[in-house]
């Protein structure tokens, strides 16, 4: 039996098409996936992301714990509210999960991890937290909404009391704050400005109704996927997993190999870097008609092969885009095997779209 978010009945009443995602019964789309996508690029959309797993880590040893668990440097979090994106790695440097961690107070951090990896993440974090005396508490009492798009912040502010609204509107990028009992952060997974709001489960329905009544478009996971792919953001389980390292996943920028830092997987990453990283994750732009899909074979000019990890039709660019893992030497154009034909695609550096604008020359 799939799990349900506090908004399940609302989605069902709205006629959403539901789908199993990471063990949760989630809305794939409400009316039109493409209309939902454009609403986020041009105005504002709201997503139910209550399936995401929120974990509070508290105790005097929380910083040393996160130093050990995260490939990114938690030492960068010096100001309360600031968020950091990074990966949990295994000893082989493979990605157990990607996550965002918020610095709430000196001994209190909050991680947001993927729904599909919840059990193994909690197990991994608890196992390592014990020696540090850090408590690990899953916040199943919270729901989470993502409000995204150029009008997202003003739409949310309109639902808040004047002082709270003013506070929310001062939040900088990748910063969150507790505002009137809600944790509001300027984060997201769409390449647009906006907020993610963690709030008591019972308050999620009223906020959802208020936002949609004010014209914010209800969006499902289908649009979330096309938006994140246009924004060049990886999806765990598709674009990276326990058998790929951040260095092979376009996530070098999340790995802090500062001298003296010891984190799980560091030795494996350094060994990989020393002998040379032979695969890379790139963006592909299809030069012909058709749609790139995950697992299609990619053939480089020199015959080296790779595979598409995520592919879709880009509603903004009106052509197909993908992320693909291919030999590090590949450049220029590649061929992709699409339904028995070889189609030409061009390597591009993600993101494809940012802030509503095409970044493809």
């Amino acid at each position: 039996m799939a799990r349900r978010t506090p908004l399940f009945a609302i989605h069902q009443a709205a006629g959403a098409r539901m789908v199993d995602f990471g063990g949760w019964d989630m809305p794939l789309q409400f009316d039109s996936l493409i209309a939902e996508h454009h609403a986020v690029r041009r105005a504002a959309g709201v997503f139910d992301v209550s399936h995401m797993c929120v974990v509070d880590l508290e105790g005097a040893g929380v910083r040393p714990l996160l130093e050990q668990l995260l490939a990114n440097d938690v030492g960068r979090l010096t100001v309360p509210g600031k968020a950091l994106y990074g990966c949990l790695l295994n000893e082989r440097g493979g990605v157990i999960d990607d996550l965002i961690v918020f610095h709430l107070a000196e001994q209190w951090f909050r991680a947001v991890v993927n729904a599909g990896t919840r059990a193994k993440d909690l197990d991994w974090i608890r196992r390592h937290a014990a020696p540090f005396g850090v408590s690990v508490r899953e916040r199943t009492d919270l729901a989470m909404l993502a409000v995204q798009g150029p009008q997202a912040r003003s739409s949310v502010a309109a639902q808040l009391a004047p002082q709270a609204a003013a506070r929310a509107l001062t939040l900088g990028a990748f910063v969150g704050a507790e505002i009137d009992g809600w944790f509001v952060s300027r984060t997201g997974y769409t390449g647009e400005d906006g907020f993610e709001i963690m709030l008591p489960a019972a308050e999620a329905g009223p906020l959802w109704h208020a936002l949609t009544a004010a014209g914010v478009v209800a969006c499902g996971l289908g649009a979330r996927d096309t938006l994140r792919l246009e924004a060049g953001m990886n999806l765990y389980g598709s674009d990276m997993d326990e058998d790929t390292t951040p260095l092979e996943s376009g996530l070098d920028w999340t790995v802090a190999l500062t001298p003296g830092r010891a984190f799980i997987g560091r030795e494996a990453l350094e060994a990989q870097r020393a002998r040379g990283v032979d695969r890379k994750l790139v963006g592909l732009l299809l030069e012909e008609r058709g749609v790139l899909r995950a697992h299609q074979r990619v053939i480089g000019a020199d015959g080296g092969t790779g595979e598409i990890t995520s592919g879709t039709f880009s509603p903004t660019l009106e052509r197909s885009i993908a992320l693909a893992r291919i030999p590090a030497a590949a450049h220029g154009t590649v061929q992709v095997e699409v339904r028995g034909k070889r189609l030409t695609a061009r390597l591009v550096r993600p993101p494809f779209v940012r802030g509503g604008k095409s970044l493809i020359g």
Partner: protein, 129 residues
């Protein structure tokens, strides 16, 4: 509730057939099918002159999320694929029984078991809409 025009014939795989005055048969996908697939973004129609067997995949339609085959509901020779769908695949969503036709076929044999509108409606109500 999806539309099921009473003057057409249907297949269990959600194609419709319309026999035209010249004896050729126009083929498309049903309103139920387009709704289930969602926003369509790519259509590959069969080339004129191609011979198809009944039940053979002869067109591809892709939504944002997935690709699906369309099966020839009868054996015949393709007279033409709908050229308008190349640049406007969304026509399949907006007008599946009209401007969204996929192909016109000259039959070379009798069609297989086809469903009446009432039978097709029954089928889709059993599958859920």
């Amino acid at each position: 509730m999806s539309k099921v025009p009473s003057d057409l014939k249907y297949t269990r795989t959600h194609e419709w057939l319309r026999t035209r005055p010249d004896g050729t048969v126009e083929v498309g996908i049903t309103d139920h099918a387009q709704h289930a697939l969602g926003d369509l973004v790519f259509v590959e129609v069969p080339q004129a002159g191609r011979s198809v067997a009944a039940g053979e995949p002869f067109a591809v339609i892709e939504s944002v999320k997935a690709a699906s085959d369309v099966y020839a509901p009868l054996a015949g020779e393709v007279i033409e694929g709908n050229p308008a769908l190349e640049s406007a695949p969304e026509t399949l969503n907006t007008d599946p029984y009209g401007e969204g036709w996929l192909a016109r076929v000259r039959p070379t044999g009798a069609p297989g078991a086809l469903l009446s509108a009432a039978e097709y409606e029954q089928l889709t109500s059993e599958e859920g809409d």
